[in-house]
């Protein structure tokens, strides 16, 4: 193909090399996604490789050449995960509902199976392929092989003697020693007879003969019901990801599955007493915390900025550098540091500064809230100090001069000139600081862990939990009892709230700018 006047300069060669690498990685990705049958990844990868080649080799699409790399990361790791979060919020995904329905039924049938006394018994050969153990049997003269994930299948080329497999191509026959060393694995293995779980599965207790274990629970696909063959109870799909009997009782060894539950998670946040009350408390504290954090840091920062804005003050630079140290120190470390300092028994605040006091700074719900605000003041005032100093220095001096000439008192000058001008400059920053503190996970997590908590229930929010640390708690990352559906529903609500704040802020900023 003729390509018009390519300039084979170093830039073009660099582009060729980078694109070759990207294409190689892309082709490798498509291939390996294909082998694990991850079709969505295959499709996305093909699209990405095509788009990248078109964008970078066509002469058109010049802006796209610059935006594409960032856009791809943005799409996968930000937009996609946002949408996925929104999707999970409408499901019951979480503890007890981690897998899909077919696997849940298969698991329940496996957990509730019973040796069939009238069923056949087979001579068993233990086989191995890789690290997996297989059962080999002879059924009506046909050699069959299978394992827990692969139902019994006829195997061609196997040698059979006395209704027992002696050699199987592609598999190694395990001797008694091998079997003995993997005894537990062998006796717990269940090999499905066919793809239909209700046909039962083969199991063994002695590694020499296999018997059929039939599920006690039978699944009726047409009626979508599970029937207990012993008691006769019929369990139906309750459309909440579980099978339940008419009286609401659970099947034995109950396993749930992931399913859409509509707005149930959101409804729980507002109506279910065990969730709604803590949610309302946390929401109120989050707003109070964010507001008070901004207010206190701004007031202290402004006061200090005014104090040090005097041109005749010596050592201004010295003061400024030391004053912004708390801000230059990484925030999460400071929060942890304050946790040590505020320790009731051993902390330096109680022991040294207050002479052996016994104040429960982080254990009492109200004192903990106060501590959080105090530590955030320490962390946040330097930012406001910097910003206010900048804004003060930007106020035109001739304005102050003319006010002075007109005989305005210093207080009057401050109230009528300094403050309004300062406010126009910092208002958007105050709002973005509010939004930042609204989601200030690190401070809360590192300082109090959201605590003090209420006794035993780790999922119930503690005294200083803000919305985002409540999401972390409900998602159960640390205690292994996750409720992803509820956690993501909370995330969505945070998103809406922060979005509303931002929308409000844009309108306010525009108003202020128009006023100025």
């Amino acid at each position: 193909m003729y390509s018009p006047a390519r300039n084979w300069g170093p830039g073009f060669i660099a582009k060729l090399i980078i694109m070759a690498l990207i294409d190689a990685i892309g082709v490798y990705g498509i291939y390996s996604a294909w082998t694990v049958k991850a079709m969505p990844i295959v499709i996305v990868m093909i699209l990405l490789v095509l788009v990248a080649n078109v964008v970078y080799f066509a002469r058109r699409f010049v802006p796209a050449k610059y935006i594409l790399p960032g856009l791809i990361f943005l799409f996968i790791f930000q937009i996609f995960v946002m949408l996925y979060t929104a999707y999970v919020a409408f499901t019951n995904y979480g503890y007890g509902h981690m897998i899909d329905k077919d696997r849940a039924i298969a698991q329940m049938q496996e957990y509730n199976s019973q040796l069939d006394p009238n069923g056949p018994s087979y001579q068993l050969t233990m086989l191995a392929k890789g690290s997996d153990i297989y059962f080999g049997i002879v059924d009506d003269g046909v050699a069959k092989v299978g394992t827990d994930a692969v139902a019994l299948e006829p195997l061609k080329g196997a040698k059979v003697a006395d209704n027992k497999i002696t050699e199987a191509p592609g598999y190694t026959v395990l001797g008694m020693g091998d079997v003995a060393s993997r005894q537990k694995e062998v006796t717990s293995l269940r090999v499905p007879v066919s793809d239909d779980p209700s046909d039962g599965a083969l199991g063994t207790s002695n590694a020499t003969s296999a018997e059929v274990y039939r599920p006690v629970l039978l699944y009726d696909e047409a009626a979508d019901t599970l029937t207990d063959t012993e008691s006769g109870t019929v369990y139906t799909d309750n459309s909440r990801g579980n099978f339940r009997a008419a009286d609401g009782s659970k099947p034995p060894n109950d396993v749930g599955w992931r399913t859409s539950v509509g707005v149930a998670n959101f409804a729980r946040l507002f109506t279910d007493a065990s969730v709604a009350k803590p949610f309302a408390e946390v929401l109120a504290w989050t707003i109070a915390f964010a507001f008070l954090s901004v207010a206190t840091t701004f007031l202290l920062g402004l006061a200090l900025a005014l104090v040090f804005n005097s041109p005749r003050l010596r050592g201004q630079k010295f003061y400024r550098v030391l004053l912004i140290l708390p801000y230059a120190f990484p925030g999460f470390m400071s929060a942890l540091l304050w946790r040590a300092m505020l320790n009731t028994q051993f902390g330096v605040v109680n022991q040294t500064l207050l002479g052996g006091a016994d104040i429960m700074w982080l254990q009492d719900p109200w004192l903990a809230k106060l501590s959080v605000l105090f530590v955030n003041l320490w962390l946040g005032y330097p930012y406001m100090f910097l910003v206010c100093t900048g804004a003060l220095q930007a106020i035109p001096s001739d304005m102050m001069e003319s006010a002075k000439v007109d005989g305005a008192s210093p207080w009057r000058q401050f109230r009528s000139i300094t403050l309004p001008l300062l406010f126009i400059a910092v208002a958007p920053l105050l709002i973005s600081s509010f939004a930042f503190n609204f989601n200030n996970f690190n401070l809360i997590f590192m300082l109090t862990g959201g605590g003090p908590t209420h006794g035993t229930d780790p999922t119930r929010p503690g005294g200083t939990d803000i919305l985002i640390s409540m999401v972390y708690r409900v998602a159960g990352v640390d205690d292994g009892n996750p409720d992803y559906g509820l956690a993501t529903a909370l995330s969505i609500i945070i998103f809406i709230l922060v979005g509303a704040i931002a929308a409000f802020s844009f309108r306010q900023t525009r108003k202020l700018e128009e006023m100025a």
């Binding site: 990844i41 004053l323 230059a328 990484p330 804004a391 920053l429 973005s432 600081s433 998602a475």
Partner: protein
Amino acid sequence: MTTMTSTPPAKAARSGDLNRPPRSKWWREIGWRHIVGIIAIVYAVFPLIFAANIALTPGAGISNTADLFAKVGMGNFEYLFTDPSSFFVRWIVNTLVVGGVTSIGTVLMGAAASYAFSRFRFRGRRFTLSALLVIQMFPQMLAFVAIFLLLTALGEVFPALGMNSLVALICVYLGGALGANTYLMYGFFNTVPKEIDEAAKIDGATHAQIFWTIILRLVAPVLAVAGLLSFISSFSEYIIAKLVLTEAPNYTLAVALYSFVADPMNPHWGWFAAGALIAAIPVLVLFLFLQRYIVSGLTSGAVKG
């Protein structure tokens, strides 16, 4: 709380008064500012002195941190660097790699996008710009459940992109690259006069040459700010790092330092403080060094973690 004393508004200095004012007047106008300054410095610096105190107290758990500089030794630092069970050097390397690659990637991708938004007019430009504004309001950490599921699925295809991988963590951080500081950079790009590009174009420069050799040099200050802010934010990020990195040798410093004191029964405050000081000093120096640029970035709306 001494620092909460409300201070009267600054009195404007009388510019005409060149003679040294009498002592009482000096106190009224200047002297009290030094008092406030000293109190404020004590407030600002005491916790950092306390950190140095724990770091220098050998074997500091929780019980022996309150006596300031009672017993000084380098035991905690020795543990971090020499003990075979300590991965401290690796954690520093991990953090530098994650922070470095993330900030370089963020700066390059953000600068390229800002260049396109600032210099080209194309379909979907306004939409993309306003969409970025909306998207950047969604903190990535809110989606940590979905990130976990995505990485588990990706790990089956690209093992390097699965759980417990620094590359995966970097990719997740880069996902926030366009949202984070594009606006900051975009504003700065707009201040570079278009005549410069046009002159270069007339001289026969391609759009790539203009970008790499002219524009990037002119916007260097904003690149430094965006890079540093990105480095600090990945340096301080905890949730996603904790979620992705499951094994101790792969931790970043935020996860590792927290793990020192996570156990309330047996916290190792000494190790934590020693590690924190070592880790914080470069950030601190960079911050003070680039202060002027950072402040200009902050006043345009960037937020540091």
